[in-house]
């Protein structure tokens, strides 16, 4: 099928032009020590159990550096650029799952009839229930969460899964609204993401020997000392749609336009008898327009927490109305599938912070080395890169047609609240046991969590997060006589300090996230054939979700230019979990009172639970991907 990319010609021309501009001067000096250009082509082909092809991504990346040395008062002046373009063929090769032919008609559970088709739910004459099926047809959809769990007497509704140019239902403007070409060619978008990095470095040397070292431009700024989990490393948002949490962060951080300045003091005597081996003060000003994480759009292979599907289904409900399973008169035994009209429930819009000075983000870091101890103290004021759903928006009462703010109504806008973070990190080498310990912690205020005890269905909480890691090399002679294995373990803890939870008639209500939770990771890596063959196993276990990932892989460096990586990503343990779904929140009292609940007050949840939508916060990213086992093959040719 021939496809035409919206605006691709523009981007191709721009890329060609930018590349040409970069290459033109570099090609003349490419052999010189002060200029470098290189790159790679990579094909990543993944196959998912029960789905088939889940990735056929082809990447071309060019990296260039030009060093100018001393320029005026500045030294070590250099310009760096990284250009990246990808084409993921999965949308063409497996279009029944991820492309223009994905999805189909759906059935939704109903207490009376067993199941009804989308559009076949309860409509009560004289109310505003019901929707126009021609605007929201029963096609191109999946049932929310169907790949992971049955409806099981809980909430369920249809989610459109086709690219937004094929099916615009549920596409949230400026947030989750990619058309097919933007899915295929991820970098070619309005943010010019094909310019992955472009920055200038320059130093200013002081007579004291101290150096003011600055990097200005589109870049990644990395804080912290941990792998996989981001406690302090939160300056750049992340593209989880690329491979969930499993790609190297370098490849999935979304570079931003940032000014980063370090005042490098080196060995510094603070007062007599007390000196640091190294001391550095850093200021980071992210002056780019805010961008959230890319959590994956429903219809993509990787949709972390399946949140993108929840959002798309909810936006479709708001825009077009739709059928919700087991809703009217719901009890733990189920309820009647109900047809809601537009503007009654769902997600209305995403409020992305626009560019203005007050929306920029600022960070400070003091970092140093004191003997065997490395440390940093960090502070950052930023915007949450994860969405927060705030209820309390005006919506239509389906029974009275009155538009007002209803307590605990599942009608939301998406916000990205400002978050303030303070934290720090340490590393320490213990000679006695030849082990490096890493510690990282962050205390945030301003984060928002779903909370079915609150009328707007969210609340703020301070959060404490930390990671304790240990790295040790261990000889296992019967496996390798020449080189030790690297063992790297981490425990990541998260504590929601203003956690709320209450027992209600049918179950617990409140914040679905675990109040205290830990995730453990373990990396074991071996080295053979002069490090040209490196098998490794990465495991991660979510203790409260009881979900585990096993990711074995082998890298084979065939030549200096050619590398093959074969691997798998297997999940074991529990998947979906249930939590209060707010069907029993009684927003339109008395019409929405829940059977069996005595003196059911308006806006008060009775704790009726299901897998959707809030169970995902208990399952976590590992549990929610339980049915996404994959085998993976990556070929990279560097040049």
């Amino acid at each position: 099928m021939q496809t035409k990319i919206k605006g691709l010609s523009l981007w191709c021309a721009a890329l060609t032009g930018a590349t040409g501009l970069t290459l033109a001067p570099l090609s003349q000096a490419v052999a010189a020590e002060d200029a470098r250009i290189n790159g790679f082509y990579e094909n990543a082909t993944y196959a998912r159990d029960g789905v088939g092809l889940s990735k056929f991504r082809n990447t071309v990346q060019l990296e260039g550096e030009k060093r100018y040395g001393d320029v005026g008062i500045f030294s070590n002046v250099s310009v760096n650029a990284t250009l990246r373009g990808t084409y993921d063929g999965v949308y063409d090769l497996n279009e029944d799952e991820y492309g223009s032919e994905a999805g189909g008609p759906i059935q939704l559970q109903d207490l009376a009839q067993g199941s009804v088709p989308h559009g076949g739910g309860l409509v009560v004459p004289g109310t505003e229930l019901g929707f126009d099926i021609t605007e929201n047809p029963n096609d191109g959809m999946v049932v929310l969460g169907e790949h992971l769990h049955p409806q099981d007497n809980g909430v369920a509704f249809g989610v459109p899964v086709r690219p937004c140019d094929v099916d615009s239902r549920g596409c949230i403007d400026d947030y989750l609204d990619k058309d097919e070409d933007e899915l295929r060619f991820q970098e070619f978008n309005d943010h010019l993401d094909f310019i992955r990095e472009l920055y200038v470095d320059f130093d200013l040397n002081f007579d004291s020997g101290n150096v003011l070292s600055t990097r200005l431009g589109k870049q990644q700024v990395i804080w912290g000392r941990t792998d996989l989990f981001r406690v302090l490393d939160v300056i750049n948002p992340v593209d989880y749609s690329r491979n969930n949490i499993y790609d190297e962060l370098e490849d999935i951080r979304i570079p931003m336009w940032i000014l980063k300045t370090d005042y490098r003091m080196g060995p510094t005597e603070v007062f007599e008898g007390f000196a640091f081996d190294d001391l550095n003060f850093q200021v980071v000003w992210n002056f780019d327009e805010f961008r959230p994480h890319d959590i994956g759009q429903c219809g993509q292979p990787n949709v972390i927490l399946d949140a993108g599907c929840f959002f798309r289904g909810m936006n479709n409900l708001w825009e077009n109305g739709g059928t919700v399973a087991n809703f009217a008169g719901a009890t733990p035994d189920g309820g009647l599938a109900t047809d809601f009209g537009p503007g009654q429930i769902g997600i209305r819009r995403a409020n992305l912070p626009s560019w203005k000075l007050s929306n920029t983000q600022l960070g400070l870091k003091l970092e140093g080395v004191y003997g065997d101890l490395g440390f940093s103290l960090n502070a950052l004021t930023y915007r949450s890169q994860l969405p927060s759903l705030r209820g309390g928006i005006p919506a239509e009462n389906a029974f009275t047609s009155e538009t007002a703010v209803w307590p605990s109504l599942i009608a939301f806008d998406i916000h990205f609240p400002r978050v303030n973070l303070v934290g720090g990190s340490l590393d320490y080498y213990s000679q006695g046991i030849d082990t490096v310990f890493r510690f990282e912690t962050a205390y945030t205020s301003g984060e928002e969590f779903a909370n079915t005890l609150r009328e707007r269905l969210y609340s703020e909480s301070d959060v404490l997060r930390y990671v304790i890691g240990a790295d040790k090399n261990i000889f296992i002679p019967f496996l390798n006589e020449n080189q030790s294995f690297l063992f790297s373990g981490q425990i990541f803890g998260q504590h929601i300090l203003d956690h709320e939870r209450e027992q209600r008639t049918y179950g617990e209500a409140g914040i679905p996230d675990w109040e205290h939770n830990w995730i453990g990771t373990l990396l074991i890596q071996g080295f053979y054939m002069n490090n040209r063959l490196t098998p490794k196993l990465i495991t991660a276990h979510d203790f409260r979700a009881q979900a585990t990932t096993l990711a074995p892989s082998v890298d084979w460096i065939v030549t200096d230019n050619l590398k093959l990586t074969a691997g798998a990503n297997i999940k074991v343990g529990d998947g979906a979990r249930k939590f209060d779904d707010c069907r029993s929140c009684n927003p339109w009292d008395p019409f929405t009172q829940t059977p069996g609940v005595v003196n059911h007050q308006p806006g008060e949840s009775a704790g009726l639970s299901g897998y959707e939508p809030l169970g995902r916060f208990q399952s976590g990213p590992i549990g929610m991907a339980q049915e996404e086992d994959e085998v993976q093959l990556t070929v990279r040719y560097s040049f």
Binding site: S213, E248, E250, G266, A275, G371, G374, D434, D471, F527
Partner: protein
């Protein structure tokens, strides 16, 4: 008066004897310095039948068995390589290093434990000839190596090519291009500040900074090693991985790990890169041996691996698998020292080091596995600084210029081709701070 005359005579005699003794002592001290730093001043090593310009090969090697270490002898015997003999020349170390040795002569002593040393500030700590009767003679020679003038106060190998080779097929499996930078914090004798860089909060003796330039999968990897003056303390090391863009502190206990998959353990660098206290050292004897010392500019060099504006070329390799440097060898005074790991789980049973008596470099090391079988042999070619880059002339540094680490059991080798530069501008102090890794990483 008689009494006075007697007193005067006595005083005169005492003064004369004292002056004579002092003169004798000074003369003895100078003899120690001369013997240690200028062993070829009065005598050129000779061995029957050995002449500069000749080639020792499979056919005539038996004649020279006494002056070739056993591992290299075997290589020649098997026809894997040959030795081209060069004229023995003096590799004079920098006069400031010699003077520092002279100043501290007799003030340095070993501590009670292996790895402890007292009174050293700069120069060669134990310039006296080793004695077979001294049970700690080997340890003293190890200190002389550690506090040697190896790369001077600072230097860079800029760049440095490592090639991983299959010895049977001759295939080059991997080529890694580095920059290595060395900086001495203590014992400095030449570059300001001397004798120590301050502040030096962790009491460092030396620091090493490594940057990987190629190939792509390891590009931007950086390594920083801080070596404390206290030999009993382990190194502090940090690694910056380009693909993680993060500095990670390393556990440095496993110094027997292969460095970036090469045939070199981290502990092998420069001949020995561990703590003195990790080994039991034994002095085995002094003799003349053929050692890889040469004039770089007089060699037929490798015109392909490296080109630059200086017109500098690196040492070429040939022989079996391309594992042997095309260099010349000199008959030189050598101390044979054996080091046996203290740790019984160490993969080696011992190393035999052949230390060059004049420079205290370790150009030849032979390593044996736990079973006592020959495992690896390490050759570090030493180039005279006056016949190398113009900037190295007069530096008094014996330039590490080529290396070959051969794993005879795996039939595999790693070769090294250097552009060694004794140039403090390439090695600024701020390069050896952790933050430099972050600032340099892209």
């Amino acid at each position: 008066m008689k009494h006075n005359k007697m007193n005067t005579l006595t005083r005169t005699l005492i003064a004369g004897c004292t002056a004579g003794m002092m003169a004798t002592a000074t003369f003895a001290e100078e003899a120690v310095i001369t013997e240690s730093f200028y062993p070829y001043k009065t005598e050129t090593p000779q061995f029957e039948g050995l002449q500069p310009g000749m080639v020792i090969n499979q056919d005539n090697v038996a004649q020279f068995k006494e002056v070739i270490d056993p591992a290299f002898y075997r290589f020649i015997e098997q026809g894997w390589t040959t030795i081209t003999v060069g004229e023995t020349t003096s590799f004079d170390l920098h006069p400031n290093y010699v003077e520092a040795t002279r100043v501290s002569l007799g003030n340095v002593s070993l501590g009670d434990k292996v790895g402890e040393i007292n009174g050293w500030q700069a120069g060669r700590p134990f310039p006296q000839e080793p004695s077979a009767d001294d049970p700690r003679a080997g340890e003293k020679l190890a200190w002389n190596y550690k506090y040697g003038y190896n790369w001077g106060d600072s230097a860079a190998i800029y760049p440095f090519y490592w090639k991983y080779r299959d010895m049977d097929s001759g295939d080059v499996e991997r080529t890694i291009k580095f920059n290595f930078h060395f900086l001495n914090y203590k014992g400095r004798v030449n570059q300001e500040p001397t004798p120590e860089i301050t502040p030096n909060p962790s009491d460092l003796f030396r620091a090493i900074y490594v940057q990987v330039l190629d190939p792509a999968d390891v590009r931007d990897t950086q390594l920083l090693i801080h070596r404390a003056a206290d030999d009993l303390k382990r190194d502090n090391s940090w690694l910056y991985l380009g693909f993680q863009r993060r500095v990670r502190r390393l556990a440095t206990g496993q110094v027997t790990d292969a460095f970036l998959g090469s045939d070199l353990m981290i502990e092998d660098f420069e001949g020995y890169n561990g703590r003195i206290s990790d080994m039991n050292w034994t002095y085995k004897g002094t003799r003349y041996m053929l050692m890889p010392f040469y004039n770089h500019n007089e060699l037929t060099l490798d015109s392909e691996t490296h080109q630059d504006d200086d017109g500098y070329q690196v040492v070429a390799f040939s022989g079996k698998g391309g594992c042997f440097p095309n260099i010349t060898w000199q008959l030189r005074k050598v101390y044979e020292v054996e080091s046996v790991p203290v740790d019984e789980s160490h993969p080696l049973s011992k190393r035999v080091h052949f230390m060059d008596a004049q420079t205290f470099t370790i150009p030849r090391t032979v390593s044996y596995d736990r079973k006592g079988s020959l495992w690896k042999t390490f050759t570090i070619g030493q180039a005279h600084p006056d016949h190398h880059l113009p900037k190295n002339k007069g530096s008094g540094v014996s330039i590490d210029d080529s290396f070959s680490m051969i794993d005879v059991q795996a039939s595999h080798c790693t070769t090294g081709q250097f552009k060694g530069q004794v140039d403090p501008e390439l090695t600024p102090t701020n390069m050896f701070n952790v933050q430099y890794l972050r600032a340099t990483g892209s």
